[in-house]
């Protein structure tokens, strides 16, 4: 009625827009309502597989079972899908994620599960669509604009309808991730099928193959590389969607980071970020193609994003690399000379001693390194601890065992098949591991014990490790001097100033690391009120009466002490006599490494092989430096009171050691076992021609 009373707005009057309004929003609203009312069951059916897999596989299975199984399963899959190296990498990375803490582990597992589910659905949907598009032009004509639209529209936009229909939560997060991540897979599969040479497909048809055979015999195998690249791209994009998925209510590390951001919690952000990064790298590595095992993750994600439409670029680059790899000639490597064999024997002996040492006693009557972080370690009279127990060698022992194991592996590996397999299964790898074992064991031996009532003593195991490490190092270095290795390219005649500067910086970092805090002790200055004091006394007495229960009692004691109110914090540096002084020994090892690195850089000028020798020594001592700090950190992670933390100095020392290794491994990689060209071996080409002349 009001319309008639009021004067109509004129055509130029903006109010006319309200009068002529197109109720587009209302239509959509009605459509959504209609879908809700009439298609509930369809929506449920759509959501069901997502819901089911996320619930049953991710939340009820992956996040529940022991972390060990998840790590092992992932490592196994990686070993089978890729190779042992990737498998080992996966195992180590995921273990680190787990060691960040249970809360982080659960989110890690959920992240892996979430991505696995999303990629699984992408594969299920994307590959068949890609294949159909590749084979039938008409289908591609329809699919292609849909993909373009999916990739042009921002994910925030299509997020909304999914939230309308499926609610906030993991189901709609998975679906949105899928919409975002599946197009490259479809494009690459389509491209892969189309790139199969026409005559090969025709050959299959010409021999009477039915179409399914053409597909499975020829098209899919020949498109495999493209499809694999597609899966990897999908995965990278899914990873890059984790943040948005977290906003939409998916669990996992994304949500953790989201929370860290909103609570401004740097510790949570750092640990969560590290776990996130490791998971991303692990998943990327597991799905990379054989020949593209390089490139840093962020670069790869960026590349996946830039090439999400013009996917061809991803293929041609990878195929070019593959071509180069395929044409590497087959040659034999220099066999082992008797002298080399003897020195390998010596190295092996040392390595075995090192490996055995961790099963022998490292400390007696008390913990040594662990005692810094755990008061209970003072009261372990009459007990001995081997190289792997928490109060014995702990991570010093683990690392020594790992290095010793590597020495053994390198000797046996290069004895059985010299020159093949990993480049590090050779004299230089053995020398690096042996020196690192020696340095690590020596550091444990030299470490200042905590001022205890009981002296932890020096177990026979430590001495064995030091002696074994020395023998192995000497053997490996002498082996290295006779090993027939040569550089792949002539080394530059110039002095490698970069390496000199790099190792100087590393030494500076180590000095700073030594002078910074290695421990951050919040237990000191506790106020032990009489009640707590009484509890402590009681437990002490119980421990003395009942030595067999010492372990559990110690843990209870720790809890009681930790419950005391705290008034001050104590920071101990890596050099001062109140601490273990490991920073000092790490610096000594680092300085040796740096000097060797200078020699490896070509000062004074010697022949090429000396650079290899000194580079190896530098890497060995660098690895040792790293290992000292790492063992310190992880020993306390393993057994310390939560109020006793390893300090930033130890972290800096790890960095310095890693830097020394990284700056010298470049030159080592140039050296390979020399090849011998056997004249009598039939050259396949020559043989061909012979055969042809016989044929005619």
């Amino acid at each position: 009625m009001r319309f008639f009373l009021q004067t109509d707005p004129g055509f130029m009057d903006n109010r006319i827009l309200d009068k002529w309004q197109i109720p587009f929003g209302a239509w959509i609203d009605q459509a959504i309502d209609w879908i809700f009312v009439n298609m509930r069951s369809t929506l449920d059916a759509l959501a069901f597989p997502f819901d089911y897999l996320i619930d049953a596989f991710v939340n009820d299975f992956l996040a529940r079972i022991s972390w060990v199984w998840v790590v092992l399963a992932m490592a196994l899959i990686a070993s089978l899908a890729r190779n042992i190296k990737v498998g080992a990498f996966v195992a180590v990375s995921l273990t680190i994620c787990g060691l960040l803490g249970n809360a982080f582990w659960i989110e890690t597992a959920r992240t892996i599960g979430f991505i696995a589910v999303a990629v699984f659905f992408c594969v299920i949907v994307g590959i068949p669509i890609g294949i159909a598009s590749g084979r039938v032009d008409a289908i591609w004509k329809v699919i292609r604009p849909i993909l373009d639209a999916m990739q042009v529209v921002h994910s925030f936009v299509y997020m909304l309808p999914f939230i309308f229909f499926f609610g906030i939560g993991e189901v709609s997060a998975t679906m949105v991730t899928m919409v975002f991540a599946v197009p490259p897979l479809i494009r690459l599969t389509n491209l892969g099928i189309r790139q199969v040479p026409g005559d090969v497909v025709e050959a299959s048809r010409a021999y009477g193959a039915p179409e399914w055979r053409v597909l499975f015999d020829v098209q899919i195998p020949l498109a495999r590389r493209a499809i694999m690249t597609g899966i990897n791209q999908t995965l990278l994009l899914a990873i890059s969607m984790l943040g948005i998925a977290a906003i939409m209510g998916a669990g996992g590390l994304g949500r953790l980071l989201f929370r860290a951001l909103s609570n401004q919690d740097p510790a949570l952000a750092a640990s969560g970020g590290l776990a996130f990064f490791l998971v991303a790298i692990v998943l990327d590595r597991m799905t990379q193609r054989e020949d593209t095992d390089t490139g840093n993750l962020f670069h790869r994600i960026r590349q996946a994003w830039t090439h999400r439409v013009d996917v061809e670029a991803l293929l041609t680059e990878a195929d070019a690399t593959a071509q180069i790899v395929a044409h590497e000639p087959i040659v034999r490597f220099a066999p082992i000379a008797p002298k080399e064999r003897n020195l390998m024997g010596m190295t092996l002996l040392g390595g075995l001693a090192v490996a055995i040492s961790v099963f022998l006693p490292w400390t007696v009557d008390a913990g040594k390194i662990s005692a810094y972080g755990r008061v209970a370690d003072e009261d372990l009279a009459g007990q001995t601890f081997n190289g792997m127990s928490g109060q014995g060698g702990s991570w010093f022992g683990f690392l020594v065992l790992a290095f010793g194991g590597f020495v053994i592996l390198a000797v046996i590996g290069s004895y059985l098949r010299p020159g093949t397999g990993s480049r590090w299964l050779a004299a230089d790898g053995a020398a690096i591991a042996a020196i690192a074992a020696f340095v690590t064991a020596t550091a444990h031996f030299l470490a200042q014990p905590y001022g205890l009532a009981n002296d932890p003593g020096t177990g026979i195991g430590v001495l064995t490790a030091v002696a074994g490490g020395f023998v192995a190092s000497a053997g490996a270095v002498m082996w290295l001097r006779v090993a027939p290795h040569s550089p792949l390219v002539p080394l530059s005649a110039d002095i490698a100033w970069g390496r000199v500067i790099g190792s100087s910086i590393a030494v500076v970092v180590l000095v700073v690391g030594m002078l910074s805090g290695w421990s951050y002790d919040k237990r000191e200055g506790r106020v032990f009120d009489p009640e707590i004091q009484a509890q402590i006394e009681e437990l002490r007495q119980e421990a003395i009466d009942n030595p067999a229960e010492a372990g559990t009692i110690a843990a209870r004691l720790q809890t009681v002490i930790a419950s005391a109110a705290q008034t001050k914090e104590l920071i101990t540096t890596g050099a001062e006599p109140d601490g273990a002084q490991l920073g000092l020994w790490a610096l000594v090892s680092g300085a040796v490494a740096a000097m060797a690195a200078v020699a490896a850089a070509g000062i004074p000028k010697r022949e090429e092989r000396y650079q290899w020798l000194w580079g190896t020594v530098a890497a060995g001592f660098g690895a040792g430096t790293f290992s000292i700090a790492m063992a310190w950190v992880f020993t306390h992670v393993r057994s310390a009171d939560p109020n006793y933390l390893s300090g930033v100095g130890s972290f800096l020392t790890m960095m310095g050691g890693a830097f020394l290794v990284a700056s010298t491994s470049g030159i080592l990689k140039l050296f390979r076992r020399s090849r011998v060209y056997d004249e009598t071996e039939p050259d396949p080409k020559v043989h061909t021609e012979e055969l042809m002349s016989i044929g005619t």
Partner: protein, 402 residues
């Protein structure tokens, strides 16, 4: 087994038009006799095959020759229905191939023919023996049985030792041998070879041609061979079909193509051919007309007529001595004029092969497998024959271009 020489493949007025509407205006234009260019101009469709008819006999090597784009591949593909034809019939062993569909077509392709491709088209993810056995695999032959047949086929092409190699490890020539073995392994009647040797370098190509001819003799396959190289066509073909712009220009034996080119177009091709390589001795030799050693010198000279010389044969008919005009005029009696240092050759030797021997000016004895004299080859005739074809082409050139 059907008779050799009986017709096995026949293309009957086959048209093939590429484009969105092959049966439309383009087809009408083609039927009305317009050529490829005109059809393209007026309808935008490519006339791949223009009223092509030819037939291939069992056990022969039938070569289709033409420049690139002349429709050779299109023609061969209609035979196993990799292409549908627009009009016409393709008969293979009494079956109209173009009516076959689905499983019938697949079964037909499996048993009837093997195909060899220009760029080998091997399956790069299978090793040599599995490539060779692919046809049998499609036929669901068990692996063990398949390997026996594959090895046999590989041994035919001399590749048995490479059975377990990856195909990429082989040279081009060897890869094409694998392609050939793949075609032979399921023992089909017909081999379709589309520019099979064109990607190989000349030396290897010749070897492969020789081998193919040996294999063909041995196994009596029917081979439909495509090439753009006339030398190759004339060398291996029992009959040659020359195509231009989708239409057949001439069909005939290599000799017919050479000596009686149907059009200037063919003659133009023939021009580049080394004639001596194709023309056989038996077409140039004259009847032997031997003389007797007991004749007088004068009678002998008289019986030579305008021949350069004649042979004396033993009681088995084998040539023992040669008597030439030159020797006859200088000698005092027949026995002192006879010489034994003459050359012999078989009737299928090409003119090139005897060319060097002819340079001595002494007649060449053409003998059969038993060594019996069947012809007398006058060196002058060889030179003449090789020059004659040159002239023929010159003539065509004048006719066509002036």
């Amino acid at each position: 087994m059907a008779e050799l020489g009986e017709e096995i493949i026949r293309l009957e007025n086959v048209y093939k038009i590429f484009g969105p509407q092959p049966r439309g205006r383009a087809f009408d234009l083609a039927k009305s006799g317009l050529g490829k260019d005109a059809v393209l101009r007026q309808s935008g469709h490519v006339l791949g095959l223009n009223d092509v008819s030819f037939s291939v006999n069992r056990g022969e090597i039938f070569v289709v020759m033409g420049l690139s784009g002349s429709g050779k591949s299109t023609a061969i593909r209609t035979v196993n229905k990799l292409h549908d034809v627009t009009s016409g019939h393709v008969w293979v062993d009494g079956v109209d191939v173009q009516t076959l569909k689905g499983t019938d077509l697949q079964a037909f392709r499996r048993v009837k023919m093997g195909m060899v491709f220009q760029h080998f088209a091997l399956f790069p993810h299978r090793n040599v023996i599995d490539n060779a056995g692919y046809g049998l695999k499609v036929q669901k032959v068990p692996k063990a049985e398949r390997d026996v047949a594959s090895l046999k086929a590989l041994s035919l092409v001399g590749l048995e030792p490479y059975a377990n190699n990856a195909t990429q490890e082989l040279s081009g020539g060897m890869q094409q041998r694998v392609g050939l073995a793949r075609a032979l392994a399921s023992d089909p009647d017909i081999l379709l070879m589309d520019e099979a040797f064109s990607a190989l370098d000349p030396l290897i190509r010749r070897q492969m041609q020789d081998e193919l001819m040996v294999i063909q003799k041995e196994l009596q396959k029917t081979i439909l061979f495509i090439t753009h190289d006339l030398n190759e066509a004339l060398r291996i073909g029992d009959r040659v079909c020359i195509m231009k712009d989708g239409a057949v220009v001439q069909i005939g034996t290599p000799e017919e193509i050479l000596t009686q080119p149907a059009t200037g177009y063919v003659a133009e091709f023939v021009q580049d051919v080394d004639q001596g390589r194709v023309i056989e001795v038996q077409e140039v030799m004259i009847t032997p007309g031997p003389i007797k050693a007991s004749m007088s010198l004068g009678d002998a000279l008289h019986s030579l007529g305008d021949r350069a010389g004649a042979f004396v044969v033993d009681d088995q008919g084998r040539p023992t001595h040669v008597f030439t005009v030159n020797d006859g005029i200088q000698a005092s009696d027949l026995s002192s004029a006879l010489r034994t240092d003459f050359e012999q050759c078989g009737p299928h030797a090409t003119l090139n092969e005897v060319y060097a021997a002819a340079g001595r000016g002494i007649p060449i004895a053409v003998v059969d497998d038993d060594g019996k004299l069947i012809g007398n080859l006058d060196p002058r005739h060889i030179m003449e024959e090789m020059g004659r074809v040159e002239q023929l082409i010159d003539g065509f050139e004048r006719e066509v271009f002036m």
